[in-house]
């Protein structure tokens, strides 16, 4: 670097158009980020400003009133109960199956043709539109067994399954092979190695991936439209009778001309976003802790 070249090289800072175009490019990149922050900030501000005034204890627990009733009357209790039930049951179905699928991809068949096909198809399945999942469950379940929260759980579970498979697969890939080899050397069977050594090593990442999948499913409306309908009173039975959820209720209220209905929609939106944020922050904390330990 210090050796002076024979020919005279221009080692000065770039000047003129080269320098200007570089600055313009950098400025445009920063501008792009600002362009994204503005709508995000605007949405969050509106939801918090309009939602916070609607939320109190009776709003969170009250029954859903008719659309015409003014702000302050009734609440969204049935929607909160429905969202917890439906998303919870979807999680119970999708997470174990997704983790098992990831175990197959990573520990058993990942290199073979079938393993690659399944891996590719679960990537493709993350792109299936949520409304198509709703139509699918309508055509195989709701037509035969009527509307119920369980139909909604099936639809959300189908949406979560490929997300859980992909995120768990990524985490299992990070488990170092010497861990597996050490336990094989002790004579453990493959199932035992996977369940007692590999899974615990990847648990933090798997849990945080699952939480993000739950957060995404909890905000989905389209798969629930034709599988659970909406109701105005709490339906604790997941397996019979129509149910409702926070996103469904927001969707119904959003196109209402009544101030009260709109105010309840903002309140429900804030509740939903807070739930999603809590899940996301929990996932971040778990990921941070997980990476610290694995280091």
């Amino acid at each position: 670097m210090a050796v002076a070249p024979e020919r005279k090289l221009d080692l000065r800072e770039p000047t003129g158009w080269r320098r200007t175009s570089n600055s313009i490019a950098t400025a445009l990149m920063v501008l792009a980020f600002v362009l994204v922050i503005i709508p995000l900030g605007f949405v969050l501000y509106t939801v918090i400003a309009k939602g916070a005034s609607a939320i109190n204890w009776s709003f969170l627990t009250g029954q859903i009133p008719p659309n015409v009733s003014p702000p302050g009357q009734g609440g969204i209790g049935p929607a909160i109960v429905g969202t917890l039930e439906i998303t919870g049951f979807a999680t119970l179905m999708a997470v174990p199956l997704g983790v098992l699928g990831a175990i197959y991809l990573n520990e058993y068949g990942g290199k073979g043709v079938l393993g690659r096909v399944i891996g590719f198809m679960s990537d493709v399945m993350t792109g299936v539109p949520s409304i198509v999942m709703g139509l699918f469950i309508f055509s195989i379940w709701t037509i035969h067994f009527k509307f119920s929260g369980f139909g909604g759980s099936l639809a959300l579970g189908c949406l979560m399954l490929p997300i859980v498979i992909r995120s768990s697969d990524e985490m299992l890939k990070l488990v170092p092979d010497p861990l597996r080899e050490a336990s094989y050397a002790l004579g453990a069977t493959k199932a035992r190695v996977t369940l007692t050594v590999v899974l615990p090593a990847a648990l933090g990442g798997i849990v945080s991936g699952a939480l993000l999948a739950v957060a995404r499913a909890a905000g989905e409306t389209a798969p629930l439209l034709f599988t659970i309908l909406t109701v105005t009173t709490v339906n604790k039975n997941l397996f019979s009778g129509p149910n409702t959820s926070l996103p469904s209720q927001i969707f119904v209220n959003a196109s209402q001309p009544f101030v009260g209905a709109q105010s309840r929609a903002w309140g429900a939106a804030l509740t939903l976003i807070v739930m999603a944020f809590v899940l996301m922050i929990a996932a971040r904390i778990i990921t941070a802790r997980f990476t610290r330990y694995s280091r």
Partner: protein, 323 residues
């Protein structure tokens, strides 16, 4: 641990690998079943929705691609919805792709790592806002506000040949264009994060080589980063298109709900997912089969886009590893 039992090992003629306990094999079968579930669900989606839609396909034949959706008159041509899906998808991509790629470059090439992480969190927040909340904000806040801007754009380009027919006077804030903008917000996080993954794989040595030749950052990006990540970014864009095509609830609230084909981007329209969401509840017979059939077509289109996109991404990753 207890000592190995030499008699047990010696007494068995079968190799160790075949002496697997039942539980071990059972677990493998369980894992395989869970993996196969993905394929089963995808096949079931195709079969069961097409069966429900069969009366539409057989009643309308090729007329499903005609432009006459009128349930009251028993006419179920779905061209207007495909047009709407294409138009809103293009609008969303035109706005989201440059912004997403710019942010991806900002994260990988400009800001130091400790700043990059908070920026990623902020972009991820966009993805945490549920579709229905975008829709609620879109219909109650954004559409009324942007209607005024549409009106002033329309009066500014009034009479100009091409622009005049694209940006005509709006009827309200809900339109193809509004839906496209909201979709752009929603696909920005995924296009950004996928582009960033691709750009992060550019070898440091290529970048340092460009800098050593005296390139500015922009020249380095054009000469070293872009040729390397082009293919992957195309894949990311296609995946964003797949998302935009399938996004339902936000579009259903802000697109204006009108089955028309028009060059006016500020006019109310419909796209495939939103017509299903808005009309399925009150449909029956061929009407319902038609909406189910639109779902089948949407499924086919998004699967094609996703398969192509994943193929492009996988190929560019493979080429990189080979290089």
């Amino acid at each position: 641990m207890a000592q190995a039992d030499p008699a047990g090992t010696a007494g068995s003629a079968r190799p160790l690998s075949e002496r697997r306990p039942l539980g071990d094999r059972g677990f493998q079968i369980l894992a395989l079943a869970a993996g196969l579930l993905v394929l089963v669900i995808l096949v079931l989606i195709a079969v069961s929705t097409s069966r429900q839609a069969s009366s539409w396909f057989s009643a309308e034949g090729l007329k499903i691609f005609s432009n006459n959706w009128n349930p009251a008159a028993n006419q179920f041509g779905a061209l207007a919805f495909m047009y709407g899906t294409a138009i809103t998808g293009v609008i969303a991509l035109v706005m989201a792709v440059p912004v997403s790629v710019a942010i991806a470059l900002l994260l990988t090439e400009v800001v130091p790592y400790r700043w990059a992480q908070p920026i990623v969190y902020v972009i991820d927040l966009l993805a945490v806002v549920p579709s229905v909340v975008w829709g609620l904000w879109g219909i109650l806040v954004f559409a009324p506000w942007i209607a005024g801007i549409y009106a002033s754009i329309a009066s500014a380009v009034n009479g100009v040949p091409v622009l005049g027919s694209l940006f005509g006077p709006p009827t309200s804030g809900t339109s193809f264009f509004t839906a496209g903008i909201i979709l752009a917000f929603m696909i920005t996080p995924i296009v950004t994060s996928l582009s960033r993954e691709v750009i992060a794989t550019v070898p440091v040595i290529d970048k340092e080589g460009a800098y050593a030749l005296g390139a500015t950052r922009l020249e380095m990006i054009r000469g070293a980063v872009w040729p390397h990540s082009q293919g992957g970014v195309v894949g990311a864009v296609l995946l964003g298109l797949g998302r935009a095509m399938g996004e339902t609830i936000a579009a259903a609230l802000v697109i204006g709900s009108s089955a028309t084909i028009t060059s006016h981007l500020f006019a109310p329209g419909y796209n495939m997912p939103s017509v299903i969401a808005n009309q399925f509840g009150e449909a029956s017979g061929v009407f319902q089969a038609g909406l189910m059939g639109i779902g089948v077509l949407l499924f086919v289109f998004t699967i094609i886009v996703n398969v192509v996109a994943r193929g492009v991404v996988a190929r560019s990753a493979r080429r990189k590893r080979g290089a």
